[in-house]
């Protein structure tokens, strides 16, 4: 019974801890992001202001961190939901690989935008 039910996943605990840590980080970063774009200045979303933020090194770091944690948190969360189903139980490996690709894809796509400006 034990052998039958068991599938070893060394990345599971790291995924869980990172989900909690990125969650904490996102609570701070998204609140800041929301304040900056919606609550402080009325023209925060004007083109030149957005470009100005994107070229500012401090903002680049902040956006990079936000991008990395949100990509991980969102799609790792989706993975947890998928693995909660019978479908996920049958296709665990495929889902894990797909999710890693999606996380990397979202991260690289965002980095592309960050480095263009």
């Amino acid at each position: 019974m034990a052998e039958e039910l068991h599938t070893r996943k060394v990345l599971e605990p790291l995924g869980w801890i990172l989900q909690l840590l990125t969650g904490l980080l996102l609570a701070i970063l998204i609140t800041f992001h929301f304040f900056e774009t919606h609550l402080i200045a009325h023209d925060a979303l004007a083109f030149e202001n957005v470009i100005a933020r994107l070229t500012d090194p401090a903002h680049k770091v902040m956006y990079g961190l936000l991008l990395a944690s949100v990509s991980f948190h969102a799609f790792n969360g989706l993975r947890a939901i998928l693995l909660d189903t019978e479908f996920g139980a049958r296709n665990t490996k495929a889902i894990n690989i797909l999710i890693v690709l999606v996380i990397l894809g979202a991260f690289i796509y965002g980095l592309g935008l960050l480095f263009t400006f």
Binding site: W16, L20, G23, L24, L26, A27, I30, T31, F34, H38, L39, H42, L45, A46, F47, E48, V50, I51, L54, V70, A74, F75, G77, L78, I81, T85, E86, A106, Y109, G110, L113, T116, F117
Partner: protein, 124 residues
């Protein structure tokens, strides 16, 4: 469908309802993230196209979606902080007061953010 059992809240406590809502808001936020990241590509096409995107989405008509999105985000955030606390094995014995506190916080933060958004987009 078995998946609907995640959202079967009849006879369940507020803890379970929070679980269902956390799952729904999470899925909505994943969709929003994809939309938000795609939207940013408009920056590559220059000022004119970007500003036309902004002109259609930052409007009083879209305000209702913004306010709903803020509710979804604030809920997922505050409830998520509660879950993080408990998943690290902390404060389990006061989980009920913390649960009620989290709903109160969601309401306060949402009303505050919605008011500020309203002022920002519509003006006073």
């Amino acid at each position: 469908m078995d998946l609907l059992k995640w959202f079967e809240v009849r006879g369940k406590s507020l803890f379970y309802i929070s679980y269902s809502l956390h799952r729904i808001t999470g899925l909505i936020l994943v969709l929003y993230l994809v939309m938000h990241l795609s939207y940013l590509t408009s920056l590559r096409f220059g000022e004119e196209i970007y500003e036309s995107f902004i002109a259609t989405t930052v409007t009083p008509t879209f305000l209702i979606f913004d306010i709903l999105l803020v509710l979804v985000g604030v809920y997922h955030g505050v409830n998520g902080l509660r879950l993080i606390l408990h998943e690290f094995g902390l404060a389990y014995d006061v989980r009920r007061p913390i649960l009620y506190l989290s709903y109160f916080l969601v309401l306060v933060l949402w009303l505050y953010a919605s008011y500020k958004l309203y002022v920002f987009i519509v003006g006073v």
